[in-house]
């Protein structure tokens, strides 16, 4: 785990209102695993840090993806190249991508695309064929960047690719990784109990101390999205107790 001030290097738009920020954070870039996140703080910003999955690595840079969902993310998107953002990370327990399965589907809805480029990297390194399945409400809300041997687009209104949800568009594969709104993940869990899903929760410290990011478990009790999570076996989560939508999130 590292705490450092990272310079904002670049920003690009990848869907309507969806941006990728590139930050100079060498020790994090060199150690982060797919599904892990960074907790970002900036000045003037909100009191608490905000968690973001690491989207891609580019040399010594890490990338995060976001939309303006609140005052904090709006501030982040107004920052200029050269300004610094405090980065704490890498945090959490990411995807398990050990060799074995011959194919994997990376299934994302909206900002749930966040952990998928690194997952594609690590899945390929483990010898898997990667199917990229990405959904959004409309074509212009789809993240334009995809990284799969096969790419499937899904839109609720049918304006591009499969008409329906990303989950419904997934072909037969050995392994499913999913990230998106919790209600989407709950549907994925009923179809693939062994899927690995990255959940969204409110988060306080990001380091396991505050117990704010409680994830309800089927076996009873809670554990911490920031420490044992944010990636879980889908069938282990008590989905009915997990808030189905939050205004800011791991992916936002």
């Amino acid at each position: 785990m590292f705490l450092l001030n990272a310079a904002l290097v670049a920003r690009r738009e990848v869907a309507r209102g969806m941006f990728v920020l590139s930050l100079d954070a060498p020790p994090i870039a060199n150690s982060v695993r797919a599904g892990q996140f960074v907790n970002l703080g900036w000045s003037p910003g909100p009191l608490l840090r905000r968690p973001f999955s690491v989207y891609r690595i580019d040399g010594d840079r890490i990338e995060v993806i976001l939309k303006a969902v609140g005052a904090g993310t709006a501030q982040l998107l107004q920052m200029k190249a050269g300004e610094t953002i405090s980065c704490l990370g890498p945090l959490g327990h990411g995807f398990e991508l050990a060799p074995g399965p011959s194919s994997v589907a990376l299934v994302s809805g909206g900002l749930g695309v966040a952990p998928m480029p690194l997952a594609a990297r690590d899945a390929r390194a483990a010898g898997m064929q990667v199917t990229w399945v990405h959904g959004a409400r409309t074509a212009d809300e789809l993240c334009s960047e995809a990284d799969g041997d096969e790419v499937i687009w899904a839109t609720d209104d049918g304006s591009r690719g499969f008409a329906g949800t990303a989950v419904a568009a997934v072909p037969d594969v050995d392994l499913v990784l999913a990230c998106g709104p919790n209600r989407m993940l709950a549907v994925a869990a009923s179809r693939w109990p062994d899927a690995q899903v990255a959940v969204e929760t409110y988060m306080g410290c990001g380091t396991g101390v505050c117990l704010g990011c409680a994830v309800p478990l089927v076996r009873g009790g809670y554990d911490r999205a920031c420490k044992e999570g944010p990636v879980y076996r889908a069938a282990d989560i008590e989905w009915a107790m997990l808030p189905s939508h939050l205004p800011y999130a791991l992916t936002a």
């Binding site: 009191l47 409110y202 380091t207 396991g208 505050c210 409680a214 809670y222």
Partner: protein, 304 residues
């Protein structure tokens, strides 16, 4: 030149006046990069006799300059604490206080008896102010007789230092402070979180599943400085100030207002190095103002 920042708090010499507040530092084992150099003492996450699952999510929400939490004292229970954490504390170079909780005065006493003499346990912080449990907690904190009964129940079972953490949700904190002092407390911690509520306008219901939560962070600091000051004026035992301390200047406000030491909480979530920075900043201030030690810092503490 090294400034002497050590303080005497309720019979215990601490190497510095900056302590880690309960619930914001876990059991001290969670954050590897955390700078412990400036830590005068640590107060553990609140513990009950038995394990507790805590409240359903959402448990925290940010509010202007603060945060609401309703964790519900999730924890492993006293046996888990003794097995998993106390042995580590015994190796550390700063004292660890256990934040104790119960649903009755007898339960607080039992907890103290079980922990008394366990290596690694330096003392107790009695929590009579948690707003996030259905039974006990805050109830003991806003009635002077109940506060005294809990304090006495712990006092009778241990010779270790006993601190009592007060709630701000009272009409007159001086009354509670005096009751705890008379019942044998060695020091008081002022204050715990304020009870607050935040509403989600899309769902048209509270943002927290527990409906209400404890408000912490800079939003409460002036309120907390005033309450800690009132408590310090009311008693002859030390008062440890708590509430929204983010930097050394914030801590110094509590110290000048009559506190012997301070606890830093929410700031640690934002900045894992906050405690060391506050500690160093106090030293810098004292040096700049021409004081050789914290003991020389004048306190604004007119007697009633």
């Amino acid at each position: 030149m090294t400034l002497d920042l050590s303080v005497e708090v309720g019979g215990l010499r601490l190497r510095g006046p900056v302590l880690a507040a309960s619930g914001t530092f876990g059991y001290g084992t969670e954050v590897p990069l955390l700078e412990r150099r400036g830590l005068g003492a640590m107060v553990s996450k609140g513990i009950f006799l038995r394990p507790r699952a805590g409240t359903p999510p959402p448990r925290i929400v940010e509010t202007p300059s603060g945060m609401l939490n309703a964790i519900g004292l999730q924890g492993p229970g006293v046996e888990g604490l003794i097995r998993d954490y106390a042995p580590q504390w015994a190796e550390w170079d700063f004292p660890v206080f256990v934040n104790v909780n119960g649903e009755s005065a007898a339960e607080y006493g039992e907890l103290a008896a079980r922990l008394d003499g366990v290596p690694g346990v330096a003392g107790f912080e009695i929590n009579i102010s948690c707003p996030n449990v259905e039974q006990g907690g805050l109830y003991f904190g806003n009635d002077p007789r109940a506060a005294a009964a809990v304090t006495e129940a712990v006092r009778k079972r241990t010779d270790l230092p006993v601190w009592v953490k007060l709630t701000p949700m009272v009409t007159d904190i001086a009354v509670i402070a005096r009751a705890c002092e008379a019942a044998g407390a060695d020091a008081l911690c002022a204050v715990n979180t304020f009870v607050g509520m935040s509403i989600d306008l899309n769902a048209r219901q509270p943002r927290l599943s527990f409906r209400t939560g404890g408000l912490s962070g800079p939003a409460i600091r002036p309120l907390a400085v005033h309450l800690a000051h009132q408590a310090a004026r009311a008693v002859n035992i030390p008062v440890i100030g708590i509430g929204g301390i983010m930097c050394a200047e914030d801590a110094l406000e509590f110290l000048v207002a009559g506190c012997a030491a301070v606890q830093v909480g929410t700031a640690t979530f934002v900045n894992p190095g906050a405690i060391a920075e506050v500690h160093d900043g106090i030293a810098t201030y004292l040096a700049e103002q021409g004081f050789a030690s914290l003991a020389e810092l004048p306190r604004y503490l007119p007697r009633d």
